[in-house]
């Protein structure tokens, strides 16, 4: 049996676990407290690394007054219930969260202090999914797949102190980690994600990314673009401010490879990297 929504694989590739204890509150730059309210009373409150249990049942104004140094973003309970009920119709959690994000967007904006700028306190999406489900997806076929093979770091690879500091205990794990994932898109939506079963193509062909991509493309009757990259590199991209530049650089230095190499895809990535802000 192959799970269409293999959430564990999906999470470990796109949203790796945090390993070290979160920073104490004072050291965080921007603090946002979220609250679900009903008739101005707090029903639920959430702030990263904060225990806000004592504020439940109190007026929202008290919560705001006590946390004057943070932004307090409030959502009406009825709205939240409505979003959750509507989101249940979506096929999987990624799309369900995306639906709620879009619904809640206007209420999740707040004005940045001493500035005319408005900021949205939403979680950042993974750069690849964001692009493929956004602008980049529009120029791709209506149905296609992306096969990502995360590999061990090459022999003799030494992580920089910066990487060790960034990933902590996970750094060694990423150096050793190997994982495959296939993500399928249809009609601009994420249709399925799972670790493909390659048992039927034999152990030798299984090691050749080109053969795997060919097999998956035939199996699902959609074009599949493969990408092989060392896991540590992939994780670094995921945390970078300008990930596309790093992707382009890795492709250039052959740390990462497109399988098969398609000029149009490579050019698109280069353009994306060049215009990255």
């Amino acid at each position: 049996m192959e799970l269409s929504y293999d959430w564990r694989s999906f999470q470990s590739v796109f949203y790796p676990q945090k390993r070290s204890l979160s920073l104490p509150l004072e050291s965080q730059k921007t603090r946002v407290i979220f609250a679900v309210v009903e008739k101005t009373r707090v029903i639920a409150a959430y702030g990263e690394n904060e225990d806000l249990c004592d504020w439940i049942g109190t007026p929202l104004t008290s919560l705001k007054a006590a946390h004057g140094d943070c932004e307090v973003v409030s959502l009406e309970r009825e709205d939240v219930d409505q979003w959750i009920s509507s989101a249940v119709g979506q096929p999987h959690l990624y799309q369900q969260i995306d639906f709620i994000r879009k619904s809640a967007l206007p209420q999740l904006e707040f004005k940045v202090r001493n500035s005319l700028r408005r900021q949205t306190c939403l979680a950042e999406k993974h750069f690849l999914l964001d692009s493929l489900l956004g602008g980049m997806g529009k120029i791709f076929p209506s149905a296609y797949g992306v096969f990502i093979r995360l590999e061990k770091a090459r022999e003799g690879y030494q992580p920089t102190p910066e990487l060790i500091e960034r990933f902590g205990a996970g750094c060694q794990e990423y150096l050793e980690q190997e994982q495959d994932i296939l993500i399928l898109f249809r009609g601009g939506k994420l249709e399925a994600f799972y670790e493909p079963d390659l048992g039927s193509i034999g152990p030798d062909r299984c090691l050749v990314p080109g053969e795997v991509v060919k097999y998956l493309s035939e199996k699902h009757s959609v074009p599949v673009q493969g990408l092989t990259v060392p896991c540590i590199e992939w994780m670094t991209w995921g945390q970078a401010k300008q990930p596309w530049r790093m992707v382009a650089k890795s492709l250039k230095t052959k740390e990462a490879k497109l399988v098969p190499f398609r000029w149009r895809v490579a050019s698109l990535l280069a353009v994306r990297a060049a215009f990255e802000v």
């Binding site: 959430w7 959502l75 999987h92």
Partner: protein
């Protein structure tokens, strides 16, 4: 997680690794099992999603069981419906949960959504006829599957245990009410199907002769609107018990020889109390609410549910499909250890995905496995010292909307003895709790004559019972109670919370004014009323002659005291904050404190001779962030525990032998069965 061969090991497993058979193809699964075997894992657990079983045309489960048997491993098959299963809709058939009329409703008439991967969905009503029909046919299919397998390949079933859980009942709670305190408010299911079943059951229940006493019209007083909440509570509890029994019955129709285990499985990540918090965390992309998860473990461990014949073993499932995965390593380790102590100390344990387990550091795993062995072999166990009998286990006994007027009593019990206080909803379970010394009964509990007789028999053995004066007694129950207490000596106290104290046999009976009206008069939450509840509970504890093992000077620290085989305590000092905390542990008498791991591996005589251990009643500690300190505490006043350990073991062995002997005499050929 390792051990001998050919032996069902789940009983000795406080940590069970979850390896779901449907997540991988059989070929990949075999490789996974080999890998686990190399790590020394010989027992695993797997969920059997309802939908997966119904559509298992390639016999994946049979092949999986064969692969497990080939490796001489053992497996627990956890029968769903459960939440937190890595399967679309947690294994519920899509067509069932897509129909609105099949969905459950909480007390505020809204659906109950479970926001966990792989998809968020609304849970169905266990009262819906369509659900029941389909579910019991799934159980029949499971039963046939196991019996066929037993007939054709009996060796495959040798290491298989079927686990029946408490299912969805505890999740029927309103996210709004439970956000402040997980079990506050009225729990239960309020869909049309549930309401219909409730009305029918109320009519049947109060048609019993006892409620029609002194005349048939008397039964109407039990059906008034004032008692609606009370009636719903016992109705939900009864429905849950009936559902559990029916599940067992269906699974034992053909495969009667299969080993069944009844557990109460908690999945904190799916708890309705965290629903809004989870949504906010998903939107913001932040860490999970570690503090709420930690508090939930306390709430779960304070409840003890009754299985068909004995207490359901409490297990906690860290699925990583919700907030647990978003925590840092120290936070995850803290929660794993805490849940292991609280659930394992009561004969249960934890379920955790094998991948998540091996992602933790080896040092941590080794230490935790050693601890798991100690709790599984009952070298360390939590003693239940006081019970609170409530009509519904999942409704509010704590503070909040819909809580009973005796809520402060439960709160006081918890404050006084912490993990030693337990909420129960069955008198039979009270009778089985030999170590508990105090029983407090909720004013919403309905006393029948039979209940009074059972409970008084329990008190006569030297226990202390606290019951409300204005409770819901049937006429015959009231007459029986009056007749019992009329023959006893009594003391009447009118100060604070008024009560009468009676000597019943070797035990004591408190009859007090904490019914609905009295509770309102006292006014919850005010300083004066809290002092009254407190002084009342102090009086109860003084009469029962029990006192807390120790206190901590800093409220950020918590303790889990566990009785140690051979006498003394295993004391775990927990710091559930993100900063290191210094504090003192204060004992009522002088004790010796030492390293628990050394104490567990040494003979008691060796410890007594230890010249380094200094005797004192106050000890200072500095506990790191998310840290747990294991300590061994020995003292003269803690040595009576060995007798209790021996008595408990004797009782357990006696019950087991009686059951085995009866089975042998009733079931010819049992000795030659595959289990011998």
């Amino acid at each position: 997680m390792s051990g001998g061969e050919h032996k069902l090991q789940s009983e000795q497993q406080a940590i069970q690794l979850v390896v779901n058979y449907w997540e991988r193809r059989p070929r990949m699964m075999r490789a996974r099992l080999d890998e686990l075997l190399r790590h020394g894992v010989t027992h695993i657990a797997t969920f059997v999603p309802w939908q997966a079983m119904e559509s298992d045309i390639s016999h994946t489960l049979a092949r999986f069981l064969q692969a497990v048997a080939d490796r001489r491993m053992t497996v627990s098959l956890i029968i769903t419906p459960e939440v937190g299963v890595h399967y679309p809709n947690s294994g519920f058939p899509k067509d069932i949960i897509q129909r609105k009329e099949n969905l459950a409703q909480h007390a505020q008439q809204g659906p109950i959504a479970i926001n966990m991967a792989p998809n968020s969905f609304a849970i169905p009503s266990l009262f819906a006829p369509e659900f029941q029909k389909r579910y019991f046919s799934f159980l029949a299919r499971m039963d046939s599957f196991l019996s066929d397998l037993g007939r054709t390949q009996s060796e495959v079933l040798r290491g298989v245990e079927v686990v029946v859980t408490g299912s969805l009942w505890k999740y029927y709670r309103s996210p709004r009410d439970s956000a402040q305190s997980a079990f506050s408010g009225n729990a239960g299911e309020y869909s049309t199907h549930a309401n219909l079943a409730f009305r029918q059951r109320v009519e049947q229940f109060f048609a019993q002769r006892e409620f029609s006493d002194p005349n048939p019209a008397a039964s109407n007083r039990w059906k008034t609107r004032n008692l609606e909440d009370t009636n719903r509570r016992w109705f939900f509890q009864q429905s849950e018990d009936v559902f559990r029994n029916r599940t067992l019955h269906h699974l034992r129709r053909k495969a009667s020889y299969i080993r069944l285990s009844e557990t109460e499985l908690y999945t904190p990540e799916a708890d309705p109390s965290l629903m809004y918090s989870n949504i906010l965390q998903m939107l913001s992309g932040g860490n999970s609410d570690f503090f709420s998860l930690s508090r939930l473990i306390d709430e779960y461990s304070a409840r003890s549910s009754m299985a068909s014949e004995s207490r359901a073993k409490p297990y906690l499932h860290w699925s990583s499909l919700g907030g647990f995965r978003k925590l840092s390593d120290p936070e995850r380790q803290f929660l794993i250890l805490k849940s292991l102590l609280l659930m394992g100390g009561q004969g249960g344990g934890i379920y955790i995905d094998a991948g998540d387990w091996f992602a933790l550091s080896k040092n941590f795993r080794n230490r935790t496995e050693a601890l798991a062995r100690s709790v599984a072999s009952k070298d360390l166990r939590i003693r239940t010292r006081a019970l609170y009998l409530t009509p519904h286990l999942w409704s509010g006994a704590g503070s909040g909307v819909g809580a009973s007027s005796a809520a402060p009593l439960w709160q006081e019990l918890q404050d006084k003895i912490g993990t030693g206080a337990r909420l129960v909803s069955s008198i039979d379970l009270v009778l089985r709790e030999k170590n508990a010394d105090i029983l407090v009964v909720d004013p919403r509990f309905i006393f029948t004559r039979e209940n009074i007789l059972k409970i008084i028999a329990w008190v006569r053995a030297g226990k202390t019972l606290v019951i409300p004066r204005n409770a819901l007694y049937t006429e015959s129950a009231r007459a029986e109670l009056e007749s019992i207490i009329s023959r006893t000596q009594r003391i009447e106290i009118a100060l604070g919370l008024p009560y009468r104290l009676h000597a019943v046999g070797d035990g004591k009976l408190f009859i007090s004014e904490y019914g609905a009206e009295a509770g309102m008069d006292l006014g919850h939450g005010s300083g004066e009323s809290n002092a009254q509840w407190q002084s009342f509970i102090n009086a109860v504890f003084a009469v029962a002659n029990i006192q807390p093992y120790c206190k901590v000077s800093d409220s950020r620290l918590a303790v889990i005291p566990m009785e140690k085989r051979g006498g003394g305590l295993g004391l775990f000092l927990l710091n559930g904050t993100r900063r290191k905390v210094s504090g003192d542990v204060i004992f009522s008498q002088a004790v010796n404190v030492s390293d628990l791991s050394v104490a567990l591996s040494s003979a008691p005589e060796a410890l007594a001779d230890n010249p380094n251990s200094g005797s004192a009643s106050r000890f200072s500690f500095e506990v790191p962030a998310c840290g747990i300190f294991p300590l061994a505490v020995d003292g003269q006043h803690l040595n009576d525990q060995e007798e209790r350990f021996l008595a408990a073991e004797l009782e357990q062995n006696t019950s087991a032998h009686i059951a085995a002997d009866s089975a042998k005499s009733e079931l010819p050929g049992l000795e030659n069965s595959i289990w011998s």
